[in-house]
């Protein structure tokens, strides 16, 4: 094929109910364009797997299966006439990056789009990685930062979306309301007024907070052990906090103020939302280190003294967090220093 530059379309895919139709739509668009130019269809799965996670092989396997299925569908949908001028590219991207918000996903997709010289992104209407919390700008908006055209696949979807459902399912409001009301009453004095104030408070709480309550279903099987290990962790953390606070008191009260602050960056070997949050907060609580941000390229830590940095890279906290969330086996992963993940941030 020595034809002019091919038309390149990027379709991020995920296991959604409208995926099949989105693929059909993409093929339709490709067929329309294939009349005079060859078409490259790029299907990508954006994953947040971290390669150190024990679940990584199975998660990557699922992603590849999905892409294989998509490739088959394209083959099914394309007519004989245009099949020769369509090429399908599949890829899994985003491994080992911290992806939280739609903005992070948009960055990853745009980077891929720039690399592959994609001119148009076709979005599955049900594709919403990074959550659709009303506090965050949706992916569609974040993608417009790049210089590619973004288009939503026009597919029939089940008429189940209402305005409320987009923010949070109604059941969630009731769950949050119930939990808040119960908690209020448990801590109250059971006077008639308490029932009224509790009702009002719980109503406000559920309306304001239900959309941001994490919908991650708790793995009940794991939670018991995790809770037990968390108690052990709390004891360990309290000890660390006490020791480190004494060090800070020494530094602050010392007449010469012996500090040597520096920003450092490192890749932590933790890989779930709750794990990362716990580690980030624990780092902040242990004096001498302060989590400035957790971005795609790792943790950014402000450290007050050389000693605090050493402790951080020894990875005691990180190991403890892994022990809590993933059990004893995960605790033996090497420390950041041994992994060579101690990227010193540029001095400013």
């Amino acid at each position: 094929m020595t034809d002019p530059d091919p038309v390149r379309l990027l379709v991020p895919v995920d296991d959604s109910v409208t995926l099949r139709n989105t693929v059909a739509y993409a093929v339709e668009r490709a067929s329309a364009a294939a009349a005079d130019r060859p078409v490259e269809l790029h299907f990508v799965v954006v994953t947040r797997t971290r390669s150190v996670s024990p679940d990584a092989p199975s998660e990557l396997g699922d992603a590849r299966d999905l892409l294989e299925r998509v490739a088959l569908w394209v083959d099914e949908d394309a007519t004989e006439a245009i099949r020769p001028s369509i090429t399908v590219d599949t890829d899994v991207i985003g491994v080992d990056r911290y992806l939280f918000s739609p903005g992070d996903y948009a960055d990853t997709l745009l980077e891929y789009a720039a690399d592959a010289d994609v001119e148009r992104i076709i979005l599955d209407p049900e594709y919403s990685p990074g959550g659709a919390a009303p506090l965050l700008r949706p992916l569609e908006f974040e993608l417009t930062r790049g210089d590619v055209t973004v288009e939503e696949a026009s597919v029939d979807r089940q008429a189940k979306r209402t305005v409320l459902a987009r923010a949070a399912p109604l059941s969630k409001y009731f769950t949050v309301f119930g939990a808040a009301y119960l908690f209020y009453l448990l801590l109250s004095t059971w006077k008639p007024l308490d029932f009224f104030t509790g009702f009002v408070t719980a109503a406000i709480v559920s309306v304001v907070l239900a959309p941001v309550v994490s919908g991650e279903p708790a793995a009940v099987r794991r939670t018991g052990g995790r809770l037990l290990r968390f108690v052990l962790y709390a004891v360990y953390l309290l000890k660390e906090i006490a020791v480190a606070n004494l060090q800070i008191a020494y530094v602050v009260l010392h007449p010469d103020l012996p500090i040597d602050p520096k920003l450092v960056r490192f890749q932590a070997a933790v890989w779930s939302d709750s794990g990362v949050t716990t580690l980030a907060n624990s780092i902040t609580l242990t004096p001498g280190t302060l989590t400035v941000r957790v971005a795609e390229d790792g943790f950014e830590i402000h450290s007050l003294t050389e000693g605090a940095r050493e402790d951080l890279f020894d990875g005691g906290l990180e190991r403890a967090v892994r022990f809590v969330f993933y059990g004893r086996a995960a605790a033996v992963i090497p420390s950041p220093r041994e992994r060579g993940d101690t990227g010193e941030g540029e001095d400013g």
Binding site: L187, L257, S282, L304
Partner: protein, 107 residues
């Protein structure tokens, strides 16, 4: 005073000490990041110790339970707030103070 009361007084005094450390730290340290250290950690410990002393003093009923909840929430929210401040400062492009930067350069 009973020995138990002495323990409570001890905890409260240690809490007050760390509260003072936090305050002195905020005054003495050079920039927003280092001050956030003092404001988040020593402060957390101070508050937790003070509330802990209160929890021990109160009738070991509902008020104590409430105090314990307060302690738990402080441990979760204090570092989160410090993180939000530091992150905001970083996003504003404020450069961290280092030993290379000399006096008069702070702020």
């Amino acid at each position: 005073m009973t020995p138990f009361e002495w323990v409570i007084v001890g905890i409260a005094v240690v809490g007050a000490f760390f509260g003072a450390v936090a305050a002195i730290g905020i005054v003495r340290l050079p920039d927003v990041y280092t001050r956030a250290h003092a404001a988040s950690k020593s402060d957390t410990l101070a508050t937790v110790l003070a509330v802990g002393a209160a929890a021990l003093t109160l009738d070991s009923g509902l008020s104590t339970v409430k105090s314990v909840f307060l302690i738990v929430f402080l441990f979760v929210t204090n570092p989160t707030a410090a993180h939000a401040i530091a992150r905001a400062a970083r996003d504003q492009g404020i450069e961290p103070w280092t030993t290379g930067t000399e006096e008069g350069d702070d702020r």
